[in-house]
Amino acid sequence: MAAKRSIMDHVLVPKARILSDDEVSALLEKYHVQKENLPKILEGDPVVKELGAKKGDVIEFERNSPIAGKTLYYRVVV
């Protein structure tokens, strides 16, 4: 009956997408950091698997914070 169940539908899993190379360099420029200074996410993480991200990709999470509304958070796949 229902479509395949995905963990991405879960309320606790924030919206995520893989950043393009241009976006990554813009991001690193904006925060004056190197890629390895970003928070990390494991390659085996269920969300990474769902997105099909590879090592070195940067993933953008759209968190729903009760304080600051929508906030963006970045993690690099290691």
Partner: protein
């Protein structure tokens, strides 16, 4: 507006009050100004403030004891015990528990919810029967408890067939008793091993869920469990897979990913602190720290504190000798950038006003 994500709510407010255009712009400006004023200052020691804000109430909570009354409740660790579990990232928490939201019609019908709760409770043969062995006649006797079987919504025939499948021979029950007879050549050790594996014979339910009760949340029925198995539960057809959650943070990180685990850390900290008011931002800072490396790690020497960049900061925490010798061997450099390092050597801590240098402009 400078803080764009506040714009919709400000506009909504203005529309509700019927404010004219000029006043709306004024209001937006005022909101921006206010938001500027509540932003933390440069070099504000956010981590220290978070630590103190969480630490002080924790000292108060030590004195409180919690009691649970009533049988049909799933008990959950709270207070200091739970705070420690979260901060130390314990793999085996004292009271793993899940909150299962159901799909319709299960969520609206109490009987159906009960039936579901019963069906997921794990049941082993030893829960519904007394098993004894007789070495002299090489027998295993299984005395089924009819009441227990009924309580758990099972029936005798399925149990008998499961036992038969396990021992790979024909089983004939007499009343409520099953007697398994083995020949003379059956080694005693094997008999004992068989008895033990029969005790653990899985009859029904989902592995890991020891107990499940139905409760009410708003207008729907939810199931609380003692013991967790999030992965299996999310696949169950009666379960709402978008809201069901476990309090085992490691499990959530494994099944739903590190970001979901971060949310659970915050939620669980909130629950652990209960009515002691601690600002959410402190919790989220800690949660960000605990999940920084992509997995859920403890605060202690194996986790956050043990991975600090500064030798002195690590040595000041635990295992002083180890860190100092290793740093000497590898020629580590102490940059004196953090708080602890500067306290040790007696320099101003590089935080707040300790971080800025003032130069006077003469002749103006």
């Amino acid at each position: 507006m400078k803080y764009a994500h506040f714009e919709p709510s400000v506009e909504k407010f203005a529309e509700k009050r019927g404010l004219p255009k000029t006043k709306v712009t004024k209001l937006k400006k005022a909101v921006d100004q206010w938001l500027d004023s509540v932003r933390i200052d440069p070099w504000y020691p956010a981590g220290l403030v978070a630590a103190e804000s969480m630490g002080e109430p924790a000292t108060q909570a030590t004195l409180r004891t919690f009691h649970f009354a009533g049988a049909a409740e799933v008990s959950v660790t709270s207070g200091v015990d739970r705070m420690l579990e979260i901060a130390d990232a314990l793999r085996k928490i004292k009271t793993p528990s899940m909150r299962i939201y159901l799909k319709e019609p299960y969520s609206k019908d109490e009987d159906k919810a009960r039936e579901f709760a019963l069906s997921i409770q794990e049941t082993y043969l030893k829960d519904v029967a007394k098993i004894s062995e007789d070495y002299f006649s090489r027998e295993i006797r299984i005395d089924l408890d009819e009441g227990a079987i009924e309580d758990r919504g099972l029936d005798k025939d399925t149990i008998v067939s499961k036992v038969a499948a396990k021992v790979k021979k024909k089983v004939e029950p007499e009343g409520n008793t099953i007697v398994l007879t083995f020949g003379e050549d059956m080694p005693l050790m094997k008999l004992r091993k068989l008895r033990m594996s029969l005790e653990k014979l899985h009859l029904s339910g989902i592995r890991g869920i020891r107990f499940a009760v139905v409760g009410k949340d708003g207008d729907e029925y939810v199931v609380s469990t003692s013991g967790t198995n999030l992965k299996a539960i999310l696949k169950h057809k009666a379960v709402d897979h978008t809201r069901t959650i476990s309090n085992d943070i490691h499990e959530v990180a494994e099944v739903l990913g590190i970001e979901a685990a971060r949310y659970v850390i915050i939620e669980e900290l909130k629950k652990a602190y209960g009515d002691m008011e601690v600002d959410l931002r402190h919790f989220s800072l800690l949660a960000d720290l605990l999940t920084y490396d992509g997995y859920y790690e403890a605060v202690g020497r194996t986790g956050v504190a043990g991975k600090k960049g500064s030798v002195f900061a690590r040595a000041a925490f635990e295992e002083t000798g180890k860190h100092l010798t290793e740093a000497a061997i590898w020629g580590e450099v102490e940059h004196l950038k953090g708080v602890v390092e500067n306290l040790i050597v007696g320099l101003p801590v590089k935080v707040g006003t300790g971080r800025v240098k003032l130069v006077m402009k003469l002749g103006e």
